[in-house]
Symmetry: C2
Subunit: 475 residues, 2 copies
């Protein structure tokens, strides 16, 4: 599909001009209360229509409607905060009023046995007949920070600032876990879609949309299974040619697979089958949610790699060892410094420090962090070094700070990404925020840094394609 076509098709979902909240309520223990609250508090500027048969005049201060058929024609987005048995009639009425897109929170469809499967089929037929697209059922909704749209039932999500990382998750619960981790990493989210049972909107559709979406720089997917894996891979391959696509899917054990089946009604995916197919489609497969989050953060800051050679400098060996140990087992290289560069670095190193990679400059570099700048500048000039990592213990209030601006500038001059492992408790998150604002990709744990490097290296190997270096067999 044409990029413009897919953008237009899902405009009513991501940039609606009007929203109806069906089941809206004044009772804070109802989903319909949380849902309307979420829509309102996010700062949405279009029209909002609460619908509830027992309403009298107003709900949460807005003019209320007693039925969908009382609504004006052509409302873009219907949010259904009603029980499962009321969904199909409501969708039918919405179609009649010209509804374009719907979000269905309720479970009780194909994840819940035969009767549910039948009911979901009927739901899809109803929607398809009227040309209506449905997110869910059995989901927690949709968020677009760029249009102040919060069509979930968690008002807190409406306060997120706009970013370029977009997330599509089959599981709403895992989806919020992913959002939590992104928030902890001090990076911003663009769009979030919890697609649940995928009535008639599939991963493939969302990937195609996000691939065309100018506000999205990286696409993250949490997948439990597909109905049409071939279609997904075909469209994901096109998307991965434009921007990074990162997938986390679980290879299920006995109990987790049972839980998945009674979850969003998907057959568990086979690990072996997917890993090869994903690679062929240029999709980066993350080992776990944390790795997906760290990779997305790096990609969103433009820190993709053009090779697998890393230079590390530190004032404290331990965390650098943790990083190199983890990375070397997973295909990341730490090239020797060329003799002339080693000599240049030796010229300013403190006593007992050797000009090696990893480069340990001891506590001297903590009190004089300009040593990091000199070392990084020398190392990044080397062809087989593709990025730099500095390990630095946060001053945590004692007044020491890392020279983030100058460090980022060195990276830009060499056109290679620079990372900082700023070991610190989460309470000192502001230091990370400030450093990232200068363009340095910063993690507060050695493990997170290592995880990101491994993912970025794998992505480089996936995408270098025709260069013949390792991926394709020699012809």
């Amino acid at each position: 599909m044409e990029p413009a076509g897919v953008l237009e098709r899902y405009r009513p979902l991501f940039e609606p001009r009007s929203i109806a909240v069906v089941g809206a309520s004044d009772n804070p223990f109802k989903l319909g209360f949380q849902s309307l609250l979420a829509v309102k508090t996010a700062g949405f500027t279009g029209d909002v229509y609460p619908v509830n048969p027992s309403s009298e005049g107003e709900i949460q201060g807005l003019t209320a409607y007693r039925s969908i058929s009382d609504l004006p024609e052509g409302i873009d987005l219907f949010v259904y905060a009603i029980p499962d048995n009321l969904i199909i009639p409501a969708v039918m009425e919405s179609v009649e009023r010209g509804g374009r897109v719907g979000v269905i929170f309720a479970g009780g469809f194909r994840e819940s046995g035969e009767e549910g499967v039948r009911r979901q089929r009927e739901l899809v037929e109803t929607a398809d007949k009227g040309g209506m697209k449905l997110i869910g059922p059995n989901c927690i909704g949709v968020l677009n920070t760029h249009s102040r749209l919060n069509a979930t039932f968690a008002a807190a999500l409406g306060y997120l600032q706009p970013g370029t990382i977009s997330v599509v998750s089959q599981s709403g619960g895992v989806g919020t876990c992913i959002l939590s981790q992104l928030i902890d990493e001090a990076v911003n989210i663009g769009k979030f879609v919890s697609i649940g049972n995928r009535a008639n909107v599939e991963f493939a559709d969302m990937v195609e949309y996000l691939s065309a979406d100018p506000d999205t720089s990286v696409i993250c997917l949490f997948v439990e299974g597909f109905d049409d894996a071939r279609d997904f891979l075909m469209r994901a391959r096109i998307a991965s040619g434009r921007k990074p696509v990162v997938v986390c899917n679980l290879g299920y054990t006995e109990h987790s697979s049972r839980a998945a089946l009674s979850h969003t009604g998907s057959m568990a995916s086979s690990e072996a089958v997917y890993s090869g197919a994903f690679a062929q489609a240029g999709i980066l497969r993350a080992d776990d949610i944390a790795q997906m989050v760290m990779a997305a953060k790096a990609f969103s800051m433009g820190a993709g790699l053009k090779g697998n050679g890393v230079f590390i400098s530190t004032h404290t060996a331990g965390p650098a060892i943790v990083i190199t140990d983890y990375c070397e087992r997973r295909g990341v290289r730490f090239p020797e410094l060329q003799p002339e560069r080693a000599e240049r670095i030796a010229g300013f190193l403190p006593p007992h420090s050797n000009p090696a990679n990893p480069l340990d400059m001891f506590a001297f570099a903590w009190t004089d962090p300009s040593l990091y700048l000199k070392a990084t500048d020398a190392a990044l000039g080397q062809d087989d070094i593709h990025c730099a990592v500095a390990v630095f213990q946060s001053g945590t209030g004692s007044g020491m700070t890392f020279p983030a601006r100058e460090y980022a500038e060195i990276g830009r001059r060499h056109d290679k990404p620079v990372f900082l492992c700023l070991t610190a408790p989460a309470i000192f998150a502001q230091e990370m925020v400030d450093i990232q604002a200068e363009g340095v990709v910063t993690f507060n744990r050695a493990e997170k840094t290592a995880n990101a490097l491994v993912a970025l290296t794998r992505h480089y190997k996936l995408t270098r394609g025709g260069t013949g270096e390792g991926v394709s067999p020699p012809s």
Copy 2:
């Protein structure tokens, strides 16, 4: 050694009555400034003696001494914030003044080649002759929250509240990473020792001390290598009979091993050799720092396991799937519910929910969390279920809260630990703090929860010893 003996031997280190800071300074860019500041601001109530040859009267408001030989006799603890070449003469003078224990920050000893090895040998001889024990060199010092002792150069550590998790780390940098993660988990630290090059205080000594220490409930070790592994294992075996001993050691790759050698002068440990020996000594080997931290948190809250059967309940399947998937691959079991218990649970479950393990109660359980209490109470009565995990999405300000007190009470009644996976960003940490205060071991990530369960299960298998269930071969 008698418990009383080892406690008395290291009393001057952990509960000093007086501290001399050699190299103390008024210049905030000197280690001797940070070091004296750390000692003072932690709230230490004994005598503090700044020493600096160029001092005139006072340093940081305290009466200063121009040399160690000017100090009164019998100072307990000497903190050396001076360069490597001044260390040996300073230790010699300290011994003459009756110094009992020293902490040496400087590098430049056996981690830095032949000359350094020779210098460290001379240092040890000097100290041993005077019966002085040395922490370091090449370390970041010692912390005891119970005696308000902060003999590091990070003043921020002095604000930590007393706890019962004690940490010994070869690497100071990794040590502070461990502390950061413990702080993030909202648990408190007892003692922290960065032992660096281990002049004449070994892991074995610290393990023996902490094993006898009534303020320590769990011992965490970050190890790069031993000089006398046999001695360590012998003393660790005794310790592990008294309280959990958790070790994280890295199996080194080419570069990380090179970094380790030029780090604290230890030969890298061989993974295969250690893993068997650790198990025989009853030591729990953690896969990584995060797992060590999560296990330590659980142990410190009394949540050791007496079996490997786990019951999970959730209102959102995804995170429960992440936990079961990770755990089942690593020896944790999720037993079927006995028919009569399943029936009892079915009696109060919402529509479409099946009385299984994992138990998914959908969003109903988020709006009515008392469902967790009923389900957990029913499940914990089953013999092959040894703990309960509830998965719950934080209300993040929207007013919902998990019934922590009642949940903890159910655990106590069954004498089985209860865990909560409260998925939330770190900014909502206060909710975790409040819940933990009720006695519920709480993690804000599915991965952390899973990591803890795996570690606790391994520990149960290590320590069940004579029960014949799996570990010992049948006789």
